[in-house]
Symmetry: C2
Subunit: 449 residues, 2 copies
């Protein structure tokens, strides 16, 4: 069954609210902002991702005849409202931080300005897109910091949460600095380099490991990777040396490019295997580690000085295992020119259309952010840019490669304190005096209402 | 961008291995089994789900011309192999536990018997499908046990991991006993009842909460739900009473069916709101709770005796927040008639094609399972049934409704000790003497190899 998320890929209440707005003639402009209420303790910063797909979604919003027939059958929607939906397109503007930008709690990363009915209809899918890719890009960035320049491959398809998660996890990880993915479809769609060779089942299907190695190497063009932990890593490494020497003598074009270790004490085995390969005259064979890795395991392997060239990261990346969801929200901040505020306990919002300003030190590293009313201006670089106007994309449309390069530069500009995986103090984000004053005014008027 | 997972929705190594099998002429039959290595400490049992979609995928496996063109462009695959893929269909058989069946560690839930190349090509997507729905159905079953018969609604779309996760989370939750979903597309595809009404933004877009309530109630047919925690629950509840009384007097057909509380101390507020509604002559208005709920929060609210009629469960359900991935594996157990075994540390498998036998007490509750060679037979009910033969579906094809009913009966038959959310001892699953003996024989022969 295919998954083609259309306009019905939304929460029912978006449609019931839209019907009310339509019926009540509430056509004024609303401003909604997408932000994270608080950072999870396991994250020092987050990385914006998914903006490209969110804009595609907004630009393509529309109800098909089949969608409208289904809605009509629910018996909840009036003919007039359904006719309105039939002609509906997104006509608003969108401001967003560029993909690959690190951000913090309370900072709007997307701002939607549109007739309230349209802005409301974006909510569920917009958050579904941006939340997931941001989640994975943020996790991937930690792996990138931990790996210290070593090659990183996304192995997470099988335990990603269904099909589209696997594809967009590959994209988000690549954006944040991963080098490749094992997911073939992600390679095709996004132009991400592919990586992958063989599983334990291939070894086990042969009468011996040595035969499996030889058969595999000779069935693939060029230099291949062999998986050496099915039975015993050291014995397998010696077999790799023998085979590599033999293939070199034959000069057939086949060869061994690397070996992968997928279980046990990875750092210790990497050292043993490196010694065997080097002693056997194969210093060129690289060592790839995988098997339940996350950024902490990578950091530990690197800290132990293990001779590792690459890491395959699967489940922990694709499901962002330690933080499988962010406290992300899409909230009404202004309607009909007036600021609005939610005051539910623990979920209070900062009212009004806002902008994030970032300041840098002389070395180009961030020093502090301030969230201000969007028209306030002042010091610092505004991070939200207009990317859609009157329902049409505006400004440069970065490719995935340029977004990845932007992210690389941004991670290099992180304050030193945020580069550690451990919690070591926060990053200063202030809310401007004007925004605070507006919130206080609203609280007062709401108490009177 | 649409997500239509085709044959390239796989890990690259499945294709490189397939090329090797093809080139080596390894066309013998393989048996792979899908199972969970160990239960996470937060789960007493798991619930099989996703079998229906897995079978659809297997039955439809095939490479399009565009798929083959992309693969050819990678420069890794021979013309002969790509021609082989062009004609490839899944021709094997599949045994599976019925969806909705509780299961435990080491128990195969799917067994694939097919030429090794075909069985290997199923791996990535098969696991991607079954892992995710099993993850969510297992989480949902815990919510169902905790809710003690109260109405449960899936609210998780926005923070589900991208589009297909939201759809299949709705399906898996419904299968496990949820009553409805807010995801409209899931309602359309799977026939799941829909639920949902309005968000805080609707309240905030109005000059006053009372006006928002009236406007919303009058814009929807029949009895609606009002969200009462935007500013102050008790004040809102009194407004609901006034509005409900007024709507009754008007006899317009509009009315208030329920109120939803989404923040703060849910149990305490439910009691206060219940008292206000009852005192105001509205005992028929139901109370719905939501806002960061999971099975433990539901259990706590129920244990405190709060007057609650329904729960909306979002993020914690759709991402299975406490256990976002299972240690699920798809492993080669037999090739060319010979049992196979992986011996990587911590990842050892039980060799051979197996069956799970479940025994029951006089009350119909499970007492113990045993994993045996599939031909062993013996006491107990065999849980794996043949559902595909020679690439074609066989046996009854349960609807989602019948799978849901099966799950309901299965949960009712759980041993009492497993019905608690807390860890209270395991469930006995034994590995038969024949399987153990086979594993020992293989270990011995592998040591000699």
């Amino acid at each position: 069954m295919s998954v083609v998320p259309g306009a019905l890929f939304t929460d029912l209440y978006q449609l019931t609210m839209a019907q009310a707005y339509h019926q009540l003639g509430m056509g004024e402009t609303a401003v909604f902002e997408l932000f994270v209420r608080r950072l999870p303790p396991q994250r020092r910063f987050l990385v914006v991702a998914g903006i490209e797909q969110a804009l595609e979604f907004a630009a393509g919003l529309g109800f098909t005849g089949a969608d409208l027939d289904y809605l009509a059958g629910l018996g909840r929607f009036s003919r007039g409202f359904l006719d309105h939906l039939a002609a509906l397109r997104f006509s608003g503007s969108i401001h967003a931080m560029p993909e690959g930008t690190p951000f913090f709690a309370d900072e709007p990363i997307v701002r939607v300005t549109a007739p309230i009915l349209e802005a409301q209809l974006l909510e569920s899918r917009l958050m579904n897109i941006v939340h997931f890719q941001t989640l994975v890009a943020s996790k991937a960035a930690r792996c990138v910091l931990a790996a210290g320049g070593r090659y990183l491959v996304d192995f997470g398809l099988r335990r990603a949460h269904e099909a589209s998660a696997a594809l967009f996890a590959a994209r988000a990880a690549y954006l944040a600095g991963f080098d490749a993915t094992a997911t073939v479809e992600a390679g095709r769609r996004f132009g991400i380099p592919l990586s992958g060779t063989l599983a334990h089942s291939f070894i086990e299907a042969h009468a011996s490991e040595a035969e499996a190695f030889r058969c595999f190497a000779c069935s693939q063009p060029g230099a291949t990777t062999l998986l050496i932990d099915t039975y015993d890593c050291r014995r397998a490494a010696r077999r790799v040396v023998e085979l590599a020497q033999e293939l070199k003598r034959l000069g057939s074009g086949h060869g061994i490019g690397s070996v992968r270790i997928d279980s046990g004490d990875l750092a210790a085995q990497a050292r043993e295997v490196r010694a065997i390969l080097d002693a056997g005259g194969c210093p060129e064979i690289r060592i790839v580690l995988s098997g339940g890795l996350d950024e902490r395991a990578i950091e530990s392997v690197v800290a132990r000085g293990a001779p590792v060239d690459a890491f395959g990261v699967g489940t922990a990346l694709d499901v962002s295992a330690d933080v499988p969801a962010l406290d992300m929200a899409y909230k009404l901040q202004e309607y009909a020119g007036l600021p609005r505020r939610k005051r539910s306990p623990g979920k209070e919002t900062w009212p009004g259309a806002k902008q994030v300003f970032r300041e840098y030190d002389a070395d180009g590293r961030y020093t502090a952010d301030e969230v201000r009313r969007h028209e306030e201006g002042g010091r610092g670089e505004p991070l939200l840019n207009e990317v859609m106007s009157a329902g049409v994309r505006v400004g440069p449309q970065p490719t995935l490669a340029t977004a990845r390069e932007h992210c690389r530069r941004q991670l290099a500009a992180l304050p030193a304190a945020l580069r550690s995986l451990e919690d070591g103090g926060g990053y200063p984000v202030s809310i401007s005096a004007q925004v605070r004053a507006e919130a206080a005014r609203l609280d007062e008027s709401l108490l009177k209402a």
